[in-house]
């Protein structure tokens, strides 16, 4: 039986394709969601308690050895406009109209603290090709290992909150982000932002405790006198004031697969610059896609077959020895 080289190669490619496909049971199931770690720690930020004093910002810089930043040439103080390699925690301001009343969407203003949300299923660790960003197996803090980082900055593109920052001006650049003061936690302390917050707007604790506290606050009636823990959810010291008008929503409970930083506010979170992400994490979507593509080496085989085919087609007798 005469078989031309052409048809043989065609056949071979088809067989290889079929073999690859048979290894990958199609359709590939979506990657299951990642559950919260039982001992995960986090921060509850209550924008209604925040007074914009920036004590968290100065404490953050002091305890993380970060320099002040001068955006306005007239300013002699630290005045970052956004997160940067020098600023891993920032208090931002929402204003509307006359901006005279706090925590009001119309003609009001509100503060919002932005820092790493410490996702339950982080996109940055998923995107990092070398595991330089990784999630602590016990506390769930998203940490950074500069020794293995290759500087690809995929994490910057992956993060839905635009948190990781790259030291563009350094000859040996690193990725800089909030690591929830893990160096302080290793010494038995807790994040500086929560330790120095005068009003309890930033509260440190185990995530399950913080979720319970957040739900307690949402259950309060507006104006009802109540108490708010200071510094840590289990500190035992409290401040007393009337309950504000909360939006009945805990940002971070489910958003983007859940985060270990939870937020409460009176102003819609979209106005405060927090993205609407849905309940699935970005990593679960992207990993579903590329795990499917690489299942049974499907994608490399396809690409290789295509390349072989192209080379074959463009090969003439003259090229053969």
């Amino acid at each position: 039986m005469a078989i031309s080289r052409r048809s043989f190669l065609k056949l071979a490619a088809g067989a290889g394709l079929a073999a690859g496909a048979s290894l990958a049971p199609a359709p590939v199931g979506a990657r299951p969601p990642v559950p919260r770690l039982p001992e995960a720690v986090g921060i509850l930020y209550d924008a209604t308690l925040c007074i914009g004093c920036k004590a968290c910002m100065s404490a953050c810089k002091e305890f993380n050895g970060l320099p002040p930043e001068h955006t306005d040439p007239r300013a002699i103080w630290d005045d970052p406009l956004d997160l940067s390699p020098k600023t891993v925690n920032i208090v931002k301001l929402y204003t509307h109209g006359s901006g005279l009343a706090k925590d009001r969407e119309v003609d009001g203003y509100a503060y919002i603290r932005r820092f790493c949300m410490h996702c339950v299923d982080p996109a940055c660790t998923s995107a990092c090709p070398v595991g330089a960003l990784y999630k602590d197996a016990r506390t769930g803090i998203v940490k950074y290992n500069p020794d293995v980082c290759i500087g690809c900055r995929y994490c910057q593109i992956a993060c839905p909150y635009n948190i990781p920052k790259f030291q563009w001006d350094s000859p040996f650049p690193r990725i800089v982000k909030c690591q929830m003061c893990d160096h302080l936690q290793a010494r038995g302390s807790f994040p500086a932002c929560c330790r120095f917050c005068p009003t309890g707007a930033s509260l440190f604790g185990e995530v399950r405790e913080l979720l319970r506290e957040a739900r307690r606050r949402l259950a309060l009636k507006e104006g009802e006198p109540t108490w708010f823990p200071l510094r840590r959810v289990d500190s035992g010291s409290h401040t007393y004031r009337a309950a504000p008008a909360y939006l009945p929503y805990i940002y971070g409970e489910k958003d983007g697969g859940g985060t270990q930083v939870l937020m409460l506010s009176s102003v819609p979170f979209a106005k405060l610059g927090l993205p609407a992400l849905g309940e699935d994490s970005i990593a679960s979507h992207s990993e579903t896609v590329y795990h499917a593509l690489y299942k049974g080496m499907l994608l490399p085989y396809l690409v290789l077959s295509g390349l072989v085919y192209l080379v074959y087609r463009n090969t003439t007798k003259k090229d053969l020895p």
Binding site: G52, A59, D79, K92, L93, L100, P198, Y240, R241
Partner: protein, 395 residues
């Protein structure tokens, strides 16, 4: 100016002209008036030395305001106030008592119709016909109603007289209210709240009244703007510690001993309008005011704060002091008392460039196109065989 000074008498009561002018200059400066206003004050007093009659009514009070007034020292004001004004009736300071004091008040009322200065100290009980505070068998509410129409100026000294103070704190068994409210808002009271108020705020107001024959500029709560225009938080000497996030956490701790911000101990400076940090108390120099001595402000002069909010409760920062760069449109220097929205914060969306303009895109596109075209042309040429070299050449 020299002539004007010469024309003043050599002595004002027990004071020399020099000392009195000094006092007037200080008082004028305290109100933010030019120095010439001090001379006008002295002239007003010197003008025949006719002393305006003052009736001082005490309601539910502790006499703290009077005591505070007696402790002014530049000059010895208990003498000055007796020489400057004719204090016809004052329950603490009057020499006569009982029937004689009441007779003096009656006489003054008859002689000085429409020329009196009425000063009210203490809150006025209104419940049950005001029987909870009576003087000479008459409820103080009734006394006030008799005197108020005869006065040309009405001054309420202390938080009690201004808005009710301690007696009006919940559950307010006597129905205590401030003087203006007790009279149904018919008279424009100049309120000098405080517990006690700074005596110089009161003295300055009285001198202003005598000099210009009108009330100083008042805010919406009837408080003179020269004293109550700014938040304590704005002028506080510990403000830098607030901005830097350095707080005393409990009395006597490291931060407290080092003079850090008292916000976490419940300081109400951020919601109280008063001039304590700049005016100070007792004339003993710097730090002689509550926050300066390490005690958090409890907002004694501010309605809805003092005697209402618990002392450890954190102050709300409803009235935000603009930090950083002043917004000229909102807050002109020495301008209106108003709440300003916060400035000097990063916006929600970080400012970005507007991207590439269409012209720049066209130029860049043309350049890239030219390079690509040249490369393509070169590639085509590379594939072609070299044309055979023509013989000859330079041989």
């Amino acid at each position: 100016m020299h002539d004007r000074l010469e024309s003043l008498p050599r002595n004002f009561g027990v004071l020399s002209r020099r000392d009195f002018l000094k006092f007037c200059a200080v008082a004028a400066a305290g109100m933010g008036l030019p120095l010439s206003a001090g001379i006008r004050m002295a002239e007003a007093v010197a003008e025949g030395m006719k002393k305006p009659p003052v009736i001082w009514i005490s309601g539910q009070e502790c006499t703290g305001c009077t005591e505070s007034l007696l402790r002014t020292t530049h000059p010895t004001v208990e003498k000055l106030i007796l020489d400057l004004i004719s204090l016809d009736y004052h329950e603490t300071l009057s020499t006569p008592s009982g029937e004689l004091a009441e007779a003096a008040k009656k006489k003054s009322l008859e002689e000085n119709r429409g020329k009196l200065i009425l000063v009210v100290e203490g809150s006025i009980p209104t419940k049950d016909g005001g029987i909870y505070c009576q003087i000479g068998g008459k409820p103080v509410l009734q006394i006030l109603q008799e005197v108020a129409p005869q006065a040309m100026a009405h001054v309420a000294i202390g938080s009690c007289a201004a808005w009710g103070g301690i007696p009006s704190a919940g559950p307010n068994p006597t129905g205590a209210v401030g003087a203006a409210e007790a009279l149904g808002g018919r008279y424009a009271f100049i309120n000098i709240p405080g517990c006690p108020p700074n005596p110089y705020n009161f003295l300055s107001t009285v001198l202003y009244l005598l000099t210009f024959k009108k009330a100083p500029e008042l805010d919406d709560q009837g408080r003179p703007k020269f004293a109550y225009r700014r938040l304590i938080h704005e002028g506080c000497e510990r403000r830098a510690h607030f901005d830097a996030g350095r707080f005393a956490l409990e009395f006597g701790d490291e931060g407290h001993r080092r003079g850090w911000c008292l916000y976490k101990l419940g300081c109400k400076g951020p919601e109280t309008f008063n001039n304590c940090p700049s005016q100070l108390f007792g004339d003993v120099g710097p730090r002689s005011w509550p926050v300066g001595t390490g005690a958090p402000c409890f907002g004694c002069s501010e309605k809805q704060v003092a005697f209402t909010k618990p002392i450890p409760e954190l102050a709300s920062l409803r009235y935000f002091t603009p930090g950083g760069i002043p917004v000229e449109e909102v807050r002109k220097g020495g301008g209106e008392l108003r709440v300003t929205p916060p400035v000097a914060f990063a916006p929600i969306e970080a400012p970005k460039g507007s991207g590439v303009s269409s012209g720049a895109a066209a130029v860049a596109g043309a350049a890239v196109g030219a390079v690509v075209g040249a490369a393509a042309a070169m590639a085509v040429k590379l594939g072609q065989k070299e044309p055979p070299q023509e013989g000859g050449g330079e041989g």
